[in-house]
Symmetry: C2
Subunit: 138 residues, 2 copies
C-alpha cells in the first residue's frame, strides 16, 4: 500500500520488521516482552470487522503464522493476541509471547511502562531469527 | 460438540448465551463492561493457530459478527478483542465494547475486579437485544 501511513505513536514505539501481504510487521521496542504488532496497511481502519472478508482472512493467516514463528524463536508458553486500540485508533494487533517468568505474568502486559529498548545488534539478531524461523515454517 | 467441556472458571464467571456453529457464546457477568466471550467448542485447544484453517475462519466470522452485534446493541466507540489465556488455558476470545465513560478507559479492562453482576431480568433483556440485533444483521 504505497500511501499507507503508520500512526505516529506506533512509529515511535516500534521497529519496522517487514511488509507482509496485508500487514506491516512491527517489533515493539521493549525487551521485557517478545512483542510484535501487525498493522493492516490500509488507511482509516479501526476494527477487524471493518476489513473486507478476504483481508480479514489474510490478517488471520498472518497472525497465526506470526504466532508460530514467535513461539519458535522465543519458546514461550502462551500467546497473547489482542486488538485494543483505545489509545491508538489505527487497527493494530498485538502478539506477545508470555512466560511465567515475565514481568507481568499472569496479568496482561499493558501498563508495565516502556521497558528497556533493544540495541541495534539485538534488533538485527532478532530480525534474522524471525526470518529464519519463518522460512523453516514453509 | 457433545463432549465439549467448558473450563470451570469460565462457567463460573460467565452466563451462557448460545452455541454458534463453532463457538459457545458467553456473557461475562460484569455490568461494568459489555463483555462477551467466544469459546471454540473443541476440547484441548489453547491457541488460535492450533485450530485448523476452516475453524480459524469460522472463529473470525463469528467474532466479526459478534462485534457488529455488540456495537449495535451497546453503541460504544471501540471493540477490544483479545485472546490471552494466561490464567484460563482453554482458548477463549474476549469481546468488549469500550466507551470513554467506562471504568477502565483508556486502559484494558482486566484487573478492575469482578464488577456488579446482572439480575435475571437484565440477562433476559440483554439476550433478547443481542438476538434481535443479530437477526437484523442477516
Amino acid at each position: 500500500m504505497p500511501n499507507f501511513k503508520l500512526h505516529p505513536q506506533l512509529a515511535q514505539d516500534c521497529i519496522f520488521l517487514s511488509d507482509l501481504r496485508l500487514c506491516r510487521l512491527l517489533l515493539m521496542n521493549n525487551k521485557d516482552f517478545p512483542w510484535c504488532i501487525l498493522v493492516p496497511s490500509i488507511n482509516g481502519v479501526r476494527e477487524i470487522h471493518e476489513l473486507n472478508e478476504a483481508d480479514q482472512q489474510t490478517l488471520l493467516k498472518e497472525s497465526s503464522e506470526l504466532s508460530r514463528v514467535m513461539l519458535g524463536v522465543f519458546s514461550g508458553e502462551k500467546m497473547n493476541i489482542a486488538a485494543l486500540g483505545n489509545m491508538v485508533p489505527q487497527l493494530h494487533v498485538h502478539h506477545i509471547v508470555r512466560t511465567q517468568a515475565d514481568k507481568a505474568w499472569p496479568n496482561p502486559v499493558w501498563g508495565y511502562g516502556g521497558g528497556t529498548v533493544y540495541s541495534t545488534e539485538e534488533i538485527e539478531e532478532l530480525r534474522d531469527k524471525l526470518a529464519a524461523e519463518s522460512e523453516a515454517n514453509h
